[in-house]
Each structure stands twice: as C-alpha cells, then as structure tokens.
Amino acid sequence: MISASDFNYLKPENLNEAVKIKGEKGAAAIVLAGGGEIINRLRSGEATAETVIDLKGIGELGEIAIDKDILNIGALVTFSDILDSETIRNQFPLLWETAAAIGSVSVRNRAGEPYRDSAPALLVYDAMVMIQGPGGKNEISLSDWFIDPKKCVLADDQIVTGIKIPRPAEEYGACYLKLKRYDGQDFGQASVAIMALADKQYRIAFGSVGPLPIRAEKIEALLAGKDLDEKLIQEAVKLVPEEISPQTDIRATAEYREHMSGVMLKRGLRAAAARLTKGGPDYGTRLI
C-alpha cells in the first residue's frame, strides 16, 4: 500500500474522457503518467487523492511529432523515447543531450516530466506546455509555468497533454551540463542549458540553483550580438552570482553551486559556440 487512504484507479481510453473526469473531480483526482513524482508524493502523504487517472490508455499522448517547425511531445513520451528519436537527436540536440543526463535507464524508461533537470533546456527552447480542461485547450509558456518549487499554474481541473517546442529560426549550437554528486542516478546539484545562435544571440538557463529554473537574462544581454572570446566569457561568468540564488542542501553547499555554475557556464559556452560551427565535442560528451 503506498497510501494510507484508498483511491480509485481509472484508465480512460481517450483524452476527452480523461479531461471530463479531471474536470468533474478537480483536486480530488491526480493524473498519472510516468509516476516518478506522483507515486513518491502519494507514498509520503504529501499528496492524497480519491481518484488516480492513468493517462497510459490514451495512445495519442505517446507521440512525438514534428509539424512545420514545431516539435510536439505528448505527455506520455518518456526520456527513453526522446533518446531513441532521430528527429530530436538531429534537430533538437540540446533536448537529446538533456534526456541523456536524466536519472538512469530504468527511470528514463518511465519518466518524462518537464521538471527539475529538464527545465533549463526547455526554457531556452521557449517551450510551451499544452493543457486541456473544461474551458478547452490552452498553451502556457514554460517561463510562466512554475510558481514555486512544488507548484505550477495548472488549475485543479486541467490536464497537461504535452509540450510544444518551436525550432529556433536560426542555426544553433547548444550544450547542457549537469553536475552530480557521483557518477550515477542523481538529481543535479546545478545544471545549465546554453544555446548559441547563428545571429549571435544567446539563450541561457540555470537549474537547481534557485527556487525555480532561471533564464539568465543579464548574461544573455551581455553576450547579445557579440562573438564569444575568453575575455567575454570571463565577464559572463562574473555575472553568474547576480542571476542565481543557490541554497545549501544535502546535495551541495550554496557556495559550491555558485562556483560550479560559473565553471559550467564557461565550458558550456565554449562547447555551444564550437558546435555552432560543426566543431566541438559530440552531443552527449561529458564536459563536467
């Protein structure tokens, strides 16, 4: 038994049915996809539910599709599915590199949430979260999604149906770096996603170094329109403390997180710029 209180289990076969059930039951129902987060929250008592709605009977939510320049990833797509997708590997390599750094194989075989370690890459891709509820469909920018570490803007009667990722209009090189305590399954002590675009714009986001994943707008503004050289990279690293607000916890001290965020920014910028010109280390190469 994972929960002190009983719950019913429903597995609707289509999205409309799932939306209807969630719309009627609201906060009393919890939606289950991979379960990585929900099962532990039910187990700890942090979450309770009268009903668990399993989305895994809804085939369309397991699809990866590209429509013009927009990548659609259904809510049931796992990180393993992302790693197996040639389309993603070739056209969205930053997402691929991020998926490779999540959890471990048996976690990736099940999980797919846009949360924790995957948030920085999705932020720099300007991803949209697709939701559906009694009021119909809606899309919310991931930058408006998180409210606090345990909360997002999703209403009690809504369901996340997937993520939409627009392909950047310009060619880009990118890099995702995740620092861990050891070389195994672990959430990041700090992470950074970096995109260097052909028009000399840069997109940068940090994870695990503040209450929410953060887009580093000051650093982006400093770099905008410029070619990267070591002097400019050093100036960017100096801005890191202004962008992040790390805390000390069981994974790392705040000081270590801040220092390493600078090291990771430096290495990531170099790799992203090199990859833009088809050089640099292959995606998936460990740089930290």
């Binding site: 038994m1 393993s80 048996s106 099940r110 070389d183």
Partner: protein, 154 residues
C-alpha cells in the same frame, strides 16, 4: 476497491486481485510469490526492485500493480529456468557480487543492455547500471561480469 488484473509473469499468465494502492513490487513478492525483485529504498533510487516491463527495465516500487494489467513482466526468475545463461556464468567467473542483494536488479538492467547492444563499451555498461546501487563491490566486478558476458555472446 479490489480489482482483478491479468499479467504475464516470466512467460506465465497470472491473474490476481489487487487494491489500486498496491505497488507492483509488493504484489509480485507477496501475492505472486516472485521474490527476485528486492524491497530496499522504496523511493525509486536504488534499483534493487528492477524488473523488465514489456522488455524495458523499470522500478517496480514506483508502479502501481493496476498499471500493468495486460502487460508482460520479467524478473530474474524468468531469465534462466534450467541452466545458467552466459551473463550468469560470467557473473560467477568474475565474482561479481558479494551479498547479492543488488544482483537481481543488476541482472535485469544488464539483460536489457545486452538485448539492445550485445557489444557494449565499458562506459556503456557503467551508464546502464548507473541507477543500481551496490554497497559491496565498488562496481568493478559487476562491470567486468557484464563485459565478460558480452564477449561470450558475440
């Protein structure tokens, strides 16, 4: 409220009544008598409860039993019925395990790896077992065991 589920466990069709709140790990161990998957961290961190679900490794402590209705589970028991497989032979030859508590989970991720990639590099083996904790060996003997199995099958 109890509901009946049907699943294939190690090639055998089984049916069992479960509460929606029951975990796959508990149902396997306590109701179906399949004791290979181990109960340890209870948070999806250690990998001791790893089973193959439709051929892919998953944490059975992170899955409700009702979620796998109609699906196929393989545990270490189903992996070798009569004699040792090349992987098990290699584990023995390399003294891969000491206490053995992690062995069932390690075996399942190694099976998944070798099915997908029969000739892995050392780095690929380390990545494949990176979600499974072993507190005895320091992992070296397990990595050598899996690499040895790859040499036997290729």
């Amino acid at each position: 409220m109890k509901q009946g589920i049907s699943l294939i466990v190690n090639g055998e069709a089984r049916t069992v009544d479960v509460e929606p709140t029951e975990l796959l790990l508990d149902v396997l161990r306590e109701k179906l008598g399949v004791k290979g998957p181990k109960f340890a961290c209870d948070t999806g961190t250690c990998g001791a409860c790893t089973v193959l679900l439709n051929g892919k490794s998953v944490r059975s402590c992170m899955i409700l039993a009702v979620e796998v209705d109609g699906q196929e589970i393989m545990t270490v028991e189903g992996f070798s019925r009569n004699e040792l497989t090349p992987l098990q032979e290699s584990f023995v030859e390399h003294s891969s395990f000491q206490c053995g508590f992690c062995a069932s989970g390690m075996t399942m991720v190694a099976v998944e790896l070798l099915n997908k990639n029969p000739d892995p590099t050392k780095e690929e083996v380390k990545e494949a077992i990176s979600g499974n904790l072993c507190r005895c060996t320091g992992y070296h003997s397990i990595v050598q065991g899996i690499l040895g199995a790859a040499r036997k099958i290729t």
